[in-house]
């Protein structure tokens, strides 16, 4: 198809199917497809919430109320979209790098069902006003989250056995990150849901830990681990430095664990806990620089390959956002800046630059890198390009409008103006957020379509 595309380098086609395991392919596709549906659903909720800021009387049914749908949005994109999207890729990477079949496919199917039921039930309950207590990302009541955790346990078992029965002696670095993410998240969720040490303000101590470890010990190590596989694989060269990856791993584990309290700077939780959190937030630069540096140095000299690939640009953007948005997080933790930014929309910008610019882009990169090689079905390159640009421009608009708006909001409070002025200050930025959000939502519809186009059933039909 020799179309003249002045804006985009012509993308290379994949040359071969790398895996013939049809059962595993179906499993991975099922995870990726479910993830893409949750992404579309979650971003419809997000876009709706965003529009509500401009038209607050838009939808007055209790099910459509802001306070019920906001946790629905966050939990759907966390547990439905990003989690399933990452697990889909992990189910490939772990067996592949262990050079062994996935230990138990059936358990993985059961887990998929359980996660879907858990997210679905959680959303229905939230829409009916059943919330665990209003703390971010633990709004699902324990039976619902329990189901999710059991699913993680089954997956952990399956993946652990796969690694344990590996043929090669080395445990590839990806499997450090991926398995650790599963183990950490199980500890994290159990800690977060046991009630005995969570009376009064203690609940907030645990919330800081949970909220940050959710992003720092689940999403972050998972996508980093996946990238340690996909980046070298897609570039067809080894990772720049294996030991940098190991250094980043241990520092990530120790430093990230200790910084949860930075979500509650200036709050009445013990001051020393906040100080520890701030200090180690600075320490986070070590794994951050080690990780990003490693990826960027691996990419060095392969600019052409990246430009010709349709999956690598996603990974490139994800790595850049990893650096910028996590670095941004460190600055938010400083008392002097927290004073301006805390409680403002700057936080919302940060959440999306990380969970979207970093985590979601890396999942997309991996998905586009993997699925066609499993099924032999490629998405239309133009549509992947549209997905890429809409998502990128969308998140940049979203992020920058709320970073500026959030800063103005914080300064407006400090100026001592009446509170309602800070709401008025934000109104135009909220409009920009809705515009960026629309682009993002559109890109997700295209992504879901692309996943469908890469699906194995279609391939089977063609073959028949």
């Amino acid at each position: 198809m020799p179309v003249n595309r002045p804006l985009a380098a012509k993308k290379t086609h994949i040359d071969r199917i790398i895996d013939e395991d049809y059962g595993l392919t179906r499993l991975i596709y099922a995870y990726a497809a479910c993830a893409s549906y949750w992404l579309v659903f979650g971003s419809i909720l997000g876009e709706y919430l965003g529009i509500r800021f401009a038209f607050p009387d838009f939808g007055v049914h209790p099910w459509l109320s802001f306070g019920r749908l906001r946790p629905a949005h966050t939990n759907v994109v966390f547990w439905g979209w990003a989690s399933l999207g990452m697990i889909a890729l992990a189910l490939y990477v772990v067996p592949r790098t262990s050079q062994r079949k996935l230990y138990n496919e059936r358990l993985a199917w059961v887990s998929l069902g359980m996660i879907n039921i858990s997210v679905f039930a959680g959303v229905v309950l939230l829409m009916n006003g059943v919330s665990n207590g209003g703390q971010e990302y633990r709004e699902f009541i324990w039976p619902v989250m329990g189901l999710f955790v059991v699913a993680l346990l089954l997956l952990t078992y399956t993946l652990f056995q796969t690694v344990a029965k590996r043929i090669i002696p080395e445990i590839y670095i990806s499997n450090w990150y991926i398995m650790a993410a599963f183990l950490w998240t199980i500890v994290l969720a159990v800690t977060a849901y046991l009630p005995w040490y969570q009376y009064g303000l203690s609940e907030t101590v645990i919330q800081g830990y949970y909220m940050h470890m959710g992003v720092g010990m689940w999403f972050t190590p998972m996508v980093l681990g996946l990238t340690y596989y996909f980046l070298p694989k897609l570039l067809n060269k080894p990772i720049y430095s294996y030991s940098l990856g190991v250094l980043a791993f241990w520092t990530q584990m120790v430093f990230y664990s200790l910084i949860g309290a930075h979500h509650f700077v200036f709050s009445p939780i013990p001051w020393w806990l906040q100080t520890v959190a701030i200090i180690f937030s600075v320490g986070m630069f070590i794994p951050l620089v080690a990780g990003t540096g490693n990826f960027l140095l691996t990419m060095r000299g392969s600019e052409g390959t990246i430009a010709r690939s349709y999956s690598l640009p996603f990974i490139f953007v994800g790595v850049i956002f990893y650096f910028l948005a996590s670095g941004q997080g460190t600055f938010e933790a400083f008392r002097s800046l927290n004073r301006i930014w805390h409680f403002t929309n700057f936080t919302i910008a940060h959440s999306h630059m990380t969970m979207y610019g970093f985590v979601s882009f890396l999942i997309w990169g991996g998905t586009y890198g993997l699925l066609p090689r499993l099924t032999g079905r490629e998405p239309r390159h133009v549509l992947v390009g549209v997905h890429f640009w809409f998502a990128l421009v969308g998140i940049l608009i979203y992020g920058f409008s709320l970073m500026i708006g959030g800063t103005e909001q914080g300064e407006n409070w400090i100026s001592g103006a009446p509170f309602i002025d800070s709401v008025k200050v934000l109104s135009s930025y909220w409009l920009w957020r809705a515009i960026g959000g629309s682009l993002m939502l559109l890109s997700h519809l295209i992504f879901a379509y692309n996943v469908h186009a890469m699906g194995p059933q279609a391939a089977a039909k063609v073959a028949a």
């Binding site: 509500r52 109320s65 306070g67 950490w184 969570q198 664990s257 919302i348 509170f419 109104s427």
Partner: protein
């Protein structure tokens, strides 16, 4: 035994798992237990009533806390919201029931104002009902969700019904707006949100809280915005038919300030102004604001929006405070 992390999966994953468990105990469970051990409710606080507790449940399930914090930081910028929060403020919170855990009320975002001490700022139940039914009826630029479904429209309300005097522009056709039990519980909870003093601290006595830094005229404007504008309008225009305008009001523009001062100090109910009778009570501010603050906000009202009445001093306020309600009325 192979002590190489790169080759021994049991060693690697065991370290990762138990290492994280240890870190969790150090940074989360340990501190949480410590905080819990040291948590005492503040002396002058009281447990929520049954109705307020139901209101708190609604507050959580409706997700009010995504936009409203209940956490005043020890920073100047937070001073309009009350005194800095202390651990004791949250000490009575506990798991709601078998299914749901301790509500996390501190919040991480402040799309709307902090509510730790909101009952001191907005003590009028009527204002709260109107605001809950349709926030824009009292705060034009609000982006808060309207909770109209917590109200019923009744053609002829019964004697026990709480009828909400919604301003004409926002009143639904075909009847009166009547609060359901949900609305009553939620408002009861909101009206319970009043900070109690921390024993031994200076906040025991009424001290300037509305203002923060700045000149007295800035302080007056700030107090007006946070405590008066909800009912009387940001530009003194009032809320038609429900709360009177202050712009051009006979008491506010009178050369003798004593009635103006008395109204702010002791509140007012059932007055007819310029032919309109206002059924809703104005709350008293004598225990909420100091003399200097009351003087500042009164002067703001007397000199804004075209009003041009002589200023008052905190001594004037002090005098009328001493005379008490009877003396001035």
């Amino acid at each position: 035994m192979n002590l190489n992390f790169h080759e021994n999966h049991r060693l690697l994953y065991g370290t990762v798992f138990f290492g994280f468990v240890v870190l969790t105990v150090i940074i989360a469970i340990g501190p949480a237990l410590w905080v819990q051990d040291h948590n005492r409710p503040l002396q002058r606080s009281r447990p929520l009533t049954e109705q307020e507790q139901r209101g708190l449940d609604i507050y959580v399930s409706e997700g009010c806390l995504y936009c409203h914090s209940q956490q005043v930081r020890p920073l100047d910028v937070d001073s309009p919201f009350g005194r800095p929060s202390a651990p004791g403020d949250y000490a009575r919170l506990k798991p709601q029931d078998l299914w749901r855990m301790t509500p996390g009320l501190l919040g991480t975002e402040r799309t709307g104002p902090d509510l730790s001490d909101v009952a001191a700022r907005q003590s009028s139940a009527t204002w709260n009902y109107i605001h809950l039914f349709e926030p824009r009826a009292v705060v034009k630029d609000s982006v808060m969700q309207a909770y109209a479904w917590m109200f019923e429209i009744k053609a002829s309300p019964g004697p026990d019904d709480i009828v909400v005097p919604v301003p004409p522009d926002y009143a639904p056709p075909g009847g009166h707006v009547v609060a359901t039990q949900k609305a009553k519980d939620l408002i009861a909870y909101l009206l319970s949100l009043k900070q109690v003093p921390i024993p031994g601290s200076t906040t025991e006595t009424a001290q300037p809280r509305g203002g923060g830094a700045g000149t007295t005229s800035e302080m007056g404007a700030r107090i007006y915005a946070s405590r008066c504008a909800g009912c009387h309008g940001q530009y003194g225009g009032g809320t038609p038919g429900v709360f009177p305008p202050l712009k051009g009001d006979p008491v506010v523009t009178a050369p003798d300030p004593s009635r103006h001062i008395a109204t702010v100090l002791f509140g007012l109910r059932g007055k007819t102004i310029n032919g309109v009778s206002y059924a809703v009570a104005m709350p008293a501010h004598k225990s909420l604001l100091s003399d200097a603050e009351i003087a500042a906000v009164i002067n703001h009202e007397r000199t804004s929006w075209g009003n041009n009445a002589p200023a008052v001093t905190s001594e004037d306020v002090e005098k009328i405070r001493k005379e008490g309600k009877e003396g001035s009325d």
